[in-house]
């Protein structure tokens, strides 16, 4: 209380600049008068009485200073004084200040930008309450090498009743046709357990969410829509609740609208953009009652009990799994080694991008470090220039701490101004910069330049300013006064120590930029290799356009139920599309066959039972399946190696056939001819009985650019129909008009069908590389910046060296040294620094490239040509940067230099 009162009075005195100095003077005069009178009474002479009174009082000036310190806030006062002085120094050398502020703005701005991306993805990936409770449940069969095989309904119920979870939910992200309006639309829709939104913990903005305890077997007829769909399709109708929506000829009732901020969880941008959720029990008519062994290929997410950590939950779950195995041995054969694994949902969403982001933050951290080092170097250089001023101040009695404080204030001011500038530029350019962030980067939160990001920028600049401002401040204040004042500029002890520090800083800078450049070089090589990889198919001039056939709940109302029914539509649609201008060839497939496409979640691996090798019960291997029309292989330019492809004579009532790729042949029929072999892959539309392999095609990178050897089996779409279709057009078509043209043609066959998402395969290819491209471009940008900064650093240091040695050089020249030798001498100094930097940098680069090995493709982390190339570039830059000051040294005029000293 008393302390606070005292502080407030002092603060108000400080602000109002009130001074009680006059009062103190009067009091002291009074005091002296009293004391003098007293002394006179004891019989001193008047002069002696006055002298003794003064002695007794003590040093009046010291008292006044103490009194003033008590009066006001001396610390703040000094700070203001330092700041005023710092601003004056800053304005006096605007060029220097500008360079420092720009360098720091670059470093802090780049760091802050990457931080804002990481904040929205890695640090806060889930915009739901208590995100740490959310987990993904994966059932694996490590015994047969299968992962994420899904769980059955009885297992789901057991999990729900286990007490480990608050809610467990199945979900399936797909798409829905909204019909009944003028233009059929196609939206990303999810079929989910009624507890899905309870798992995520988000309530509806309008209406309600599903009852999480609803146990209706099939669809309960309720849907919830997103805010976006509500506004777009229903004009934000406030009376939307209870209205019906027709999805694939079935009527659903809208029970709720989600908040505008809600985004669904999911691995792809389409899943995250889901606009409609339909509640479903995932079993029931027309399927048989749920069986423990019938695993549905859906994603399972759950919310843990708040008291359980994921590790503890996993332990409980392991115990539960063990008890199931004892209770139902028939369903869990020991050789399959069935397990259930919990993964924090946040991790599964960020997934493989985590490494790229960590790499980016590392790279940007290095850029920040390099800019700090550069600025520290500049500060040191200026400190030498200001040596005389500092020596004079010290001679006049400035305390060392006071000098350090003043220097620190100056550098902090520069760093913070730089940081704020960087943040301001970032804030103004955020719209522009966000374009470069690939859509496929997993983020449910919008990347925003928020207060948190501003705080980050300020903390970073203050920390950097303190660390990198302290060393120059410390060294500057450590001057040998007499030598400095006596012989200015001849290299005193202090300045030698300083130049040693400068050398270390430059070497560090060079080393750090080498590390960054090696990382960028390796990423560039990987990207290039991936870009130039032998695809095994030809994406040029091929366009894909999607449609989805209705999938009503009652199969009797499905007009596309059998292959024969569907083939009528397919053949007519293909025929009409082929008549469009510029179209040369057409094909159709299910969405899983779309190369590098969005189909990944539709495409689930299915168990394959090989004749004579696998039995139904023994957990057969899983394989990727695609369903294609006979022309598919030709349109995509895939090569047949053995046997034959599909022909028009292969129909629903002819024997079921399949084509496999080489990888499948090698994996599942090693050392035999697969043509003629038989197997079974079950699906909704599959006929019972064996499927015969008729042909083998060459491997193509249709699943992953990085992996050519993924086993694939292709079925004929006229034998095995599918609802999710992609039409392919090869030819010279107008990409902007083609969607409307194809839509007209398809809808003239069936007016209820939505036609959407026209993409060239080249675009699909390039967007599949987007995250890689993003990190490659960013790291390359950072490496370029680092190289520039390092070049500036070495230029500054060599210039400074030349300046310091100008007297020596002048004497050498006067004594007849060859100008060429002077040039060589200076260049040698530059090269020595570069050599040391490269040496240290190579070690660092080896460590870093080893760490980033998993991000590379087709290039060794120790790729000699990359290392050699980068070293050459850095050395060349170092020589170029030293050459200018070296030339200046060579052209030095000995007479003027020696006279000016």
């Amino acid at each position: 209380m008393r302390f606070l009162r005292r502080f407030l009075i002092r603060l108000s005195n400080f602000v109002t600049r009130r001074s009680t100095d006059q009062r103190l003077r009067e009091e002291i005069a009074e005091h002296l008068a009293f004391q003098t009178e007293e002394n006179l009474r004891t019989g001193m002479s008047p002069a002696e009485a006055r002298r003794q009174a003064r002695l007794k009082l003590g040093a009046a000036e010291a008292i006044r200073e103490d009194h003033h310190a008590e009066q006001s806030l001396p610390f703040v006062e000094n700070l203001f004084q330092d700041l005023r002085f710092a601003v004056r120094m800053l304005l006096r050398s605007p060029g220097f200040s500008l360079i420092v502020i720009a360098t720091m703005a670059l470093g802090v701005g780049a760091t802050t930008a990457i931080y804002s991306v990481i904040d929205a993805t890695l640090l806060h990936p889930l915009p739901y309450p208590h995100p740490s409770e959310l987990v993904r449940i994966e059932a694996n069969l490590p015994g047969v090498g299968s992962h994420d095989v899904g769980i059955s309904i009885p297992e789901l119920r057991d999990l729900q009743n286990s007490g480990i979870f608050q809610y467990v939910s199945l979900c399936f992200h797909g798409s829905e046709n909204v019909t009944g309006s003028a233009q059929p639309t196609h939206i990303a829709g999810a079929t989910v357990s009624p507890s899905y939104l309870a798992v995520l913990g988000v309530d509806a903005a309008l209406g309600r969410t599903f009852d999480p305890h609803d146990a209706t077997p099939g669809s309960n007829g309720e849907v919830i829509i997103s805010d976006g769909l509500w506004k777009r399709a229903f004009g934000a109708d406030p009376h939307i609740l209870g209205k019906s929506l027709r999805l694939d000829n079935d009527l659903f009732q809208i029970v709720g609208v989600m908040p505008a901020s809600f985004r669904d969880q999911g691995q792809t941008s389409e899943e995250r953009g889901t606009e409609l959720w339909a509640a479903d029990g995932f079993y029931g008519d027309p399927s048989s009652p749920p069986m423990r062994g019938t695993r549905s290929p859906y994603e399972t997410i759950a919310r843990l009990q708040p008291s359980l950590s994921p590790e503890a939950a996993q332990r409980h779950l392991d115990a539960l799994v063990a008890s199931w195995k004892k209770q139902y041995p028939a369903y869990y054969p020991p050789q399959a080694a069935w397990t259930i694994h919990l993964t924090p949902l946040a991790e599964t969403l960020v997934g493989n991008v985590r490494q790229s982001l960590i790499l980016l933050s590392g790279a940007v951290g290095l850029v920040l470090l390099i800019s700090c080092v550069n600025v520290a170097n500049l500060l040191l250089a200026r400190a030498s220039a200001r040596g005389h001023e500092i020596a004079v101040r010290q001679a006049l009695g400035a305390a060392r701490m006071r000098l350090i404080r003043q220097h620190l204030t100056e550098s902090l001011l520069l760093f913070v101004l730089g940081g704020i500038t960087g943040f301001a530029v970032l804030f103004c350019a955020r719209k522009f910069l966000l374009q470069f962030v690939p859509e496929s980067l997993p983020r449910l939160n919008d990347i925003s330049i928020s207060w948190g990001v501003l705080a980050f920028a300020i903390v970073v600049s203050v920390a950097a300013g303190t660390i990198f401002g302290l060393a120059p401040a410390w060294l500057t204040s450590r001057l040998d006064l007499t030598t400095k004042l006596r012989q200015e500029g001849r290299g005193s002890n202090g300045s030698r120590r300083r130049s040693r520090l400068r050398h270390v800083l430059v070497i560090g800078e060079l080393a750090l930029s080498l590390v960054l450049m090696v990382a960028a070089g390796l990423l560039l090589r990987s990207f290039w290799d991936l870009f130039k990889v032998q695809l095994g198919f030809n994406p040029t001039r091929v366009m894909a356009i999607e449609t989805t056939l209705p999938n009503p709940n009652d199969p009797n109302t499905d007009i596309y139920h059998t292959a024969t029914q569907e083939s009528v539509f397919l053949r007519e649609a293909l025929r009409r599309i082929r008549t469009l201008p510029g179209v040369e060839e057409t094909a159709v497939s299910d969405r899983a066959a779309l190369p590098l496409g969005h189909g990944q979640s539709d495409l689930r691996q299915r168990p394959m039972i090989r004749e004579g090798q696998d039995a139904q019960s023994s957990q057969p291997p899983l394989i990727n399946t695609s369903i294609v029309s006979p022309e598919y292989f030709h349109v995509l330019g895939m090569t047949l190696i053995r046997g034959r492809l599909f022909v028009d004579q292969d129909l629903e009532d002819t024997p079921s056939i399949a084509v496999i790729n080489q990888a499948a042949a090698h994996t599942y029929w090693p050392n035999q001819d697969p043509v003629g072999k038989r197997f079974i892959v079950r699906s909704r539309a599959a006929k019972p009985g064996w499927t015969t392999i008729v042909g083998v095609i060459a491997d193509a990178r249709t699943e992953s650019l990085a992996d050519a050897g993924i086993p694939q089996v292709y079925f004929d779409i006229y034998q095995r129909p599918d609802k999710f279709l992609a039409f392919y057009l090869r030819g010279q078509v107008d990409p902007s008009a083609i969607l409307a043209q194809v839509r007209t043609q398809i809808q003239s066959v069936d007016a209820e069908l939505p036609v959407f998402r026209a993409e060239t395969l080249d675009d699909v290819l390039s967007s599949s590389l987007s995250v890689r491209r993003f990190s490659m471009e960013m790291v390359a940008l950072f490496a370029g910046t680092a190289l520039l900064l390092a070049g500036l650093g070495i230029y500054g240091t060599i210039s400074f060296l030349v300046h310091e040695q100008s007297r020596e050089i002048a004497i050498r020249l006067a004594l007849g040294a060859q100008r060429r030798n002077i040039l060589r001498m200076v260049l040698r100094q530059g090269l020595t620094l570069a050599g040391a930097g490269v040496g240290v940098g190579l070690v660092g680069a080896l460590i870093v490239s080893h760490l980033m090995a998993s991000l590379l493709y087709g290039v060794s982390p120790y790729d000699l040509s990359t290392f050699a190339g980068v070293t050459a570039v850095l050395t060349a830059v170092a020589i170029a940067a030293s050459y200018v000051p070296a030339l200046r040294a060579m052209r030095l005029d000995p007479i003027t230099t020696l006279h000016s000293e």
Partner: protein, 115 residues
């Protein structure tokens, strides 16, 4: 900047408060003189150090000051204990006595007194 140890400063403040408590209103020299008289030569403090201390106590609200006329009719600044200061003095006196008592007892203990 602080040449005097804290203990001494704290003690000096206590002395000032006690002096004002005993003598009522008093000017700076009067306080200094009184402290000097009581402590004799044992306390070698420059009288000037008193003034920053008086300002501090005033900021803390323990004392107040105003101009007035001295006994020989000169203008002087007079200090007076406030109610808060009186309370503070009581508390600090108690603390001081307690500390002193403990230290005294500590010094008086002989080896044979210990169990």
């Amino acid at each position: 900047m602080k040449e005097k140890p804290d203990v001494l400063q704290g003690t000096l403040a206590l002395m000032v408060l006690k002096t004002l408590d005993v003598m009522g209103t008093q000017h700076g020299w009067g306080i200094a003189r009184r402290i000097e008289q009581i402590s004799g030569d044992l306390l070698a403090v420059n009288q000037g150090t008193l003034y920053p201390l008086l300002l501090k106590l005033e900021h803390e609200g323990s004392i107040s000051s105003q101009w007035g006329a001295s006994e020989n009719n000169r203008r002087a600044r007079f200090y007076r204990l406030t109610e808060a200061g009186r309370k503070q003095l009581r508390a600090e006196t108690r603390d001081w006595e307690q500390t002193a008592a403990i230290i005294t007892r500590f010094f008086n203990v002989k080896a044979e007194d210990l169990p």
